[in-house]
Subunit: 360 residues, 2 copies
């Protein structure tokens, strides 16, 4: 086609043109457009209870790519008004206590009474916990196939803070996607219990029969957090032992002070494998909600949890920023040497570094 | 007496002069001179092993009066080169376990083998611990009178950080005053154990016979910290029970991972009242020092502790400063309301507040 050369801006035909636009840039722009469309799609997908959209939404939230931050915030903001309506249950217990089997049984029970159940995991890859949870989905065969269930293993991360944040935000997405019950699994050995306890309404500790808490590797602090202790694997020859353990645990719990919830932690037994005692646990949780809704603790706790995460996030960011300042890093090393040589105390050194007041 | 008026600076006799200098100001200056002299006197007093100077030095360090800060720092700086030579031992256990009686027996034993012993206490007045320790010195009758012993109750404070700092600094003064062994007592219920564990070489947990750790209200984390667990009150009818408890505790300790110290925590029994088993404990501590000096852990730990306190002090100061900023305070309240109304998440709110970047 011959063009009229009425403008110098027009190209001559027949000349092999060099690329005047950057192909990569175009690809980026296209991808950006696609992604921004995706956020809207994600939002409407999630609000329409679409599990696939929910899954992609959580991936967006988990992304450490700074370009995704804004999108993640948009997504969260749109989901927030539809959140906060589920019951959030934390489930912990040492490896071997049968958490996966329990969640399979409990989750299946919940979907059978028309509840939609999301299962999340908080499992910072620590040297302590060794190996991730929810990894072995084969133990949740029925729940995995259940269309009213959503199972999401935790994103791999060394930082508990990061995992905690993404889990908290995943809860919002799950709630916006219409899930009635959110189960948050964690391993009863590390600091993750405190994090999970700070994001759930009800904290359930799974125990085994017999052994005292010191043998089960459960910290006393975790027992203090529990709203219910459930003895799992209460089947076969274990049945009588379960009764003894129940009564032991009740005695132990008696030594603890009253909880601000006005709730007395319950002790119960179940067999996840034989599917017995599962209804009782749901009844306990419902009773808890009734009690704490009446005395207004339910909402008080959620507000306190929000405050906790707000302050915690700020604290972490402040210290992270300060200690990543190059001047601080250098001076820190210098002061540590001075301390080692008895030239200063840690407190005087701290004051010195703080007075540097670096612009981070 | 008539003065020769050879100088205008001389006063006329017989004239009633009005006060040309402010009496209060003079008193202040005098008092200031006295205090600044006092620091030098304190330093030489402390370095000359004078207990009265040590006591006043600790009071200076504990002072929250900003005017005393510089003096306290001067004092510490002068003492530092003479510090670090003692053995620092943390002693914990729930109320009723017999800490005071134990310290009386152990301290008296140490002075009998020509050691000078200082006893400090970390006891943040918390609702949990209820009642201060070392308050009842009547349980330490012999030690109180012992000229080679120095007993110092903790300063009353609600902030563990403050108590921890003054205790850490008191250790420096005690060491400069030539004390060979510093015993730091704390109650085995709060967070103070972690603080004390971070300032001692050896951490000793006192237990009673019989009851499991859950009944004695000891957190598993505290057991994990212990370099030795000593069953106190192993006397009379308790003797056999002590043996059983010892073996139970050894089994429990077996479940714990190896310590970085390369030291296997020891279990022992004693009767502070009958003064039996006390030498064994000292032998255990000496063995620990031998092992950890050989594998260099002893110094590694002290350096790690210094790093911990340096970082901890900075972190606390950073967050304290940030949250005390008026703009931050106002915005924090605003954001908390927004969170409560589901208009934002704690994380987005935190980012917003952090981006305000206030000049504190």
């Amino acid at each position: 086609m011959v063009k009229h050369k009425t403008s110098a801006l027009q190209e001559s035909q027949g000349v092999s043109n060099s690329e005047i636009t950057n192909v990569t840039s175009i690809a980026k722009i296209k991808s950006k457009r696609k992604t921004s469309l995706d956020v809207d799609a994600l939002i409407s997908g999630i609000l329409n209870n679409d599990i696939s959209a929910l899954s992609r939404g959580i991936t967006l939230i988990e992304s450490t790519n700074p370009e995704h931050t804004e999108k993640a915030n948009t997504l969260l903001k749109s989901c927030l008004p539809h959140a906060n309506k589920s019951i959030r249950i934390g489930i912990t217990g040492v490896p071997g206590v049968g958490k996966s089997t329990f969640i399979e049984a409990f989750g299946t029970f919940l979907t059978s009474i028309s509840k939609r159940v999301a299962v999340l995991a908080v499992d910072p890859s620590s040297s302590l916990s060794k190996g991730s949870i929810l990894g072995d989905k084969t133990r949740m065969e029925a729940l995995v196939k259940d269309k009213n269930a959503f199972i999401r293993p935790s994103a791999a991360s060394d930082a508990l803070g990061g995992v905690a944040r993404t889990t908290r935000e995943s809860i919002i997405l799950c709630e916006a996607a219409g899930f009635d019950v959110i189960l948050i699994e964690t391993v009863g050995v590390g600091q993750s219990e405190t994090a999970v306890h700070s994001m759930v309404d009800f904290f359930l500790l799974l125990q085994l029969t017999g052994a005292g808490d010191e043998l089960q590797g459960i910290k006393r602090g975790i027992i203090e957090m529990a709203d219910a202790i459930v003895i799992n694997k209460a089947d076969g020859t274990n049945l009588n032992l379960a009764k003894t353990t129940e009564s032991d645990l009740r005695k132990t719990l008696h030594l603890y002070n009253d909880k601000p919830s006005g709730w007395t932690p319950k002790v119960s037994s179940c067999s996840a494998i034989e599917n017995r005692g599962i209804t009782d646990i749901w009844n306990i949780i419902q009773e808890y909600i009734e009690v704490t809704t009446k005395n207004k603790y339910f909402n008080t706790k959620r507000n306190e949890q929000n405050t906790f995460w707000l302050l915690e996030t700020i604290k972490n960011a402040l210290t992270h920023k300060f200690f990543n300042n190059d001047t601080v890093k250098t001076e820190l090393q210098h002061q540590l040497k001075r301390i080692e040589q008895n030239e200063t105390t840690p407190f005087a050194a701290a004051e010195f570094i703080l007075q540097m007041n670096p612009k981070a």
